[in-house]
């Protein structure tokens, strides 16, 4: 009887482990195509808003009800925490010259696809400063309690990128060195969009 319980427990553990691995892999490959329009809309509206005032925004809780807003001025970065329906959010956006309705739309779009963080990240290619849009998604898939959760990361570039035969992002056309972003190797979705699965969301 005791042996049977042990076997059942082991089988359950093994199944949940297999389930989590499979769901993560499928998630990585299919997610972008399933949500391509939403993701492209989010990226485009973020870029437009960022040009008006540099900022980044994300959700700071598991239920996607609280946001963390980072507004970047010339001399300081200001970090605010709000509930998504708090009026203070609109006031703060207005104060820093960000169109409140457009940012709220962006936040709602992000919430709909479980996107927990959007940011503009600077990087250097041949000593030239460039920037990419960095987007983190928290998979809805089941995760084993007390394990480190992984995030699905998408990076959007302004220029087409170079990849090796395995579809891994390269530093430059000439250099066959892998380009790492936040110490992660990225994979091709198309010429300007890459993905990885990471333990870090930002």
């Amino acid at each position: 009887m005791r042996n049977n319980s042990l076997h059942i427990l082991c089988m359950m553990g093994l199944c949940s482990l297999l389930f989590s691995c499979v769901s993560t892999r499928n998630f990585s490959t299919n997610y972008y195509y399933l949500h391509e329009k939403s993701l492209t809309d989010i990226e485009q509206s973020y870029k437009t808003l960022y040009e008006q005032k540099p900022f980044s925004v994300g959700f700071s809780d598991r239920s996607f009800n609280e946001i963390s807003l980072e507004i970047i001025t010339d001399s300081i970065k200001l970090i605010y925490e709000f509930g998504i329906r708090e009026p203070r959010l609109q006031d703060t956006l207005n104060k820093y010259g960000l169109p409140a309705s457009a940012v709220t739309d962006l936040i709602n779009q992000m919430r709909a696809i479980r996107c927990i963080w959007i940011n503009s990240l600077d990087y250097y290619s041949n000593n030239q400063k460039r920037s990419l849009v960095y987007l983190s998604i928290k998979p809805a898939a089941f995760t084993i309690p007390f394990t480190i959760e992984k995030y699905y990361i998408l990076t959007f570039y302004s220029q087409p990128q170079y990849f090796d035969s395995d579809g891994r992002l390269l530093a430059t056309r000439r250099q066959r060195k892998l380009r790492k972003i936040n110490d992660d190797v990225f994979h091709r979705i198309n010429d300007k969009v890459c993905y990885t699965v990471s333990e870090r969301f930002r």
Partner: protein
Amino acid sequence: MFILLLGCLPATASVRKDTTPLSNSQQAIAFIEKQAEQLSPSNYWPNVNPVIFLQNLRDNVEAPLNIHEGLNTNFCAYAAMSYLPLHFDPLGYVSFMIKLYRDGKALYGKEYFEPSREVRLAAGTLSFKGELDIRPADQLWFLSLADHFKGYLNLFDKHYNAGDENRLWASVNFTKFNRMIRRLFNFSVSAVGSDLFRPGIRDIYEYLHERLRTGTVGLFVNNMDLYKKNHTHLRIGIPTHFIILVDIEEVDDKIAITYWDYGFRTRQLLSEKFLKQLIFGIAHIKVKKADEK
């Protein structure tokens, strides 16, 4: 009387000697300009161009808050403590850097640096670290510090291999952070807290406010808490990040902290409970003056 005098003299002399060296940015810039025509490419640092090296030093002196530890490196402690020489003794910092570049070895405070060959070859080649990619002098500085100072976290990875800037080789525990400041810049450092346990201060606002009034404050914080908030079930409660506290004020029932890291100042509003949860170590760093005992 004679005995009394004899007893006093060495004590006075040692107090005078044991002061924090101070200089200003004009002296440092003048020194850099003097070197500009003489500094040739170094055989010790083959991947660091002397012109870009000096420009990087000049940028650091002119805008000390711009120094950047790089994305995803373990250089945050080295960047945080760079706040001190760049604000209090930039001449000492540039003199050391230029000597280290030219001769491959140099003395800073009580420490003699002679970086390993691997480190000398790596400086100037670090990439995918954001702003640090184009700052070879900062790469040289951080790598030399990590190569020279060792704490218990570095026991199993003492020698530099490519990519070690992101690994335990470069990591810094709280005691090592305080030791580096004392040995290099001769500041007086009084520290509370540790690598595992929080300092247990009842009124954290009053404590930090008072220390900020009388010196520079370095904080050892849990980076996961600072940035991750509440996404995951599993949250590891250990500190991994060093920041410099620039300002603290009470705003309604919250505490607004302004801190410096990643080449930028950040202002964040936190509850007292969250602030206490965040902080594992507080280093109160004071200039040693001749008239102080």
